[in-house]
């Protein structure tokens, strides 16, 4: 797995040699602060927890994660470096995993930098830090799900704008799959079991469960299998049409 680590290190370092990392982290921290304090009523609620903070994550990620994932493969295609990469002795799995893990690790760094909020809530009251930790784990897993979707879609185009918009669209489908806008699309024709399956795909439902502090193996399994599925599709898509 050594080439995976080599790709991982190059990609992660790549975020910090350009302004991408700093812009992303600043906007992520600012937005999550604004949402928590102004729209989440963090102070007014008078409760020592981070619910207002985490409840916005599915929506925040919906817009910010595609901005990270859009360049993963589309950029390689556009610059032609995909030819350099895949004529080196590296397998498809190693390359896809290396890039994905770097992007995920970068999101993790951004998420970890929200720690002042955790300190704040610990100064103001006595929160259940177990629940907060579970929420962080859930948020990171959900980010991985968004990233895997975005990485796969990025591998289908050389245009980053298309990758961004399509990732946002597909991610929204998963985010809202338990709710009328998505379910109505399936209601008219899909058999009941499929409808039920679609309803259980909702990021909101699974994340909500985790962020209440209930770490259910099924929720973890949901995100893990979602990531695995999209990365597999990613590798397949690259294998079939990497030279196009």
């Amino acid at each position: 797995m050594r080439p995976t680590m080599v790709v991982f290190r190059r990609e992660l370092a790549g975020y910090f040699t350009t302004p991408v990392a700093y812009v992303f982290i600043c906007v992520f921290l600012l937005l999550s602060g604004v949402l928590t304090f102004y729209f989440g009523g963090f102070l007014e609620r008078g409760q020592a927890d981070l619910r207002p903070f985490f409840s916005f994550h599915p929506w925040l990620y919906l817009f910010l994660i595609p901005a990270i994932s859009m360049r993963l493969w589309a950029e390689e295609r556009r610059a032609g470096t995909i030819e350099l990469l895949f004529t080196l002795p590296i397998t498809m799995t190693q390359a896809v995993l290396g890039k994905f893990l770097a992007a995920w690790c970068f999101t993790g760094i951004a998420l970890a930098l929200t720690f002042p909020l955790w300190i704040t809530v610990n100064i103001l009251g006595e929160p259940d830090n177990g629940v907060i930790l579970a929420s962080y784990v859930g948020s990171l897993l959900m980010a991985g799900g968004y990233l895997a979707i975005g990485s796969c879609i990025s591998s289908l185009t050389r245009n980053q704008v298309i990758a961004f918009v399509m990732s946002l669209f597909v991610s929204f489908g998963f985010l809202a799959s338990g709710f009328p806008p998505v379910l109505d699309v399936f209601k008219s024709w899909a058999p009941a079991p499929l409808l039920e399956a679609v309803a259980t795909m909702s990021f909101l439902t699974h994340f909500d469960a985790v962020s209440k502090g209930v770490i259910d193996a099924r929720d973890l399994f949901f995100f893990a299998s979602l990531i695995a599925f999209w990365l597999f599709a990613n590798a397949l898509a690259l294998d079939l049409r990497k030279a196009d």
Binding site: R2, P3, V6, V7, R10, G14, T17, T18, A79, G80, T81, E83, L84, F86, T87, L88, P89, I90, T91, K242, A243
Partner: protein, 319 residues
Amino acid sequence: MSASIDIQHLVKRFGDFTAVDDVSFGVQSGEVLGFLGPNGAGKSTTMRMITGFIAPTGGKVAVCGHDIATDAIAAKRAIGYLPEGAPTYPDMTPAGLMRFVGQIRGFGGAELGRRVDAAGEKANLRSVLNQRIETLSKGYKRRLGLALAILHDPAVLIMDEPTDGLDPNQKHEVRELIQEMAADKVIVLSTHILEEVHAVCSRAIVIARGKIVADGTPSELEARSRYHNAVSLSVGAASASAAGGALAGLANVFEVEALESADGRARFRVFPRDGQSIVDDVGQLAREQQWEVAELHVEQGRLDEVFRDITARGEGGAA
């Protein structure tokens, strides 16, 4: 196992379009193979199949005995590849990118540093090692691509237009580098520049519309030219009128072409029948007739003419 490439019945179709159509050839250690052909003839597609970037529709490629389809990693370890346009990551530095490629190829520690230094040295990148690649000129980017290809001292070196975008001095350096490395490697390079074939290649394959249309040494290809063994001479104005007729009367002469003359002399190009050597006959005639000969030389043959001739065939001669 000594270096080799073995290609059997390689076919690549994109939809209805056949880019590479039943191509077979082998290259052995010590050979420098020039891959010639018009744009879109299938040169790059063939190279991409040899290096495992795209999968063939049919046929087999073995690099140093490793099948690129079933044993891709081993084959790719043996190959150094400069893709068309020498793509590189613009945000990185040449040193950083060489280290990245070296690490993927399994080098680490002092060995990695030594390899990066050596490749940077060979490709003449010393002065830009720590600049961002996007700020470099086209020539530097091309040489960086070359450095990445030779970093692991590969048994098989494949280069898609290695001298494209280089100035004449840089072209010369790259050709010298190729010649230095040629002894114990298989080298395949594609080019549009026919003089390059002369300068570095021990063998040339001409490909047109996906098929091999010629395969031989550069001299063998030149021998196909109607200029091969033709004799150019210029004589004093006094003997000009007689000379044309006398030359055309020689037994092995096929045709005499009068060229535009300068400084009062008449110039002729004499084409032989079937590429025979006629220089002795022409020389003897000139002595007998006591022409005042100012210039006399034998032409080698013109690759560009041969190239145009064999690649335009089948297009109604329109190209």
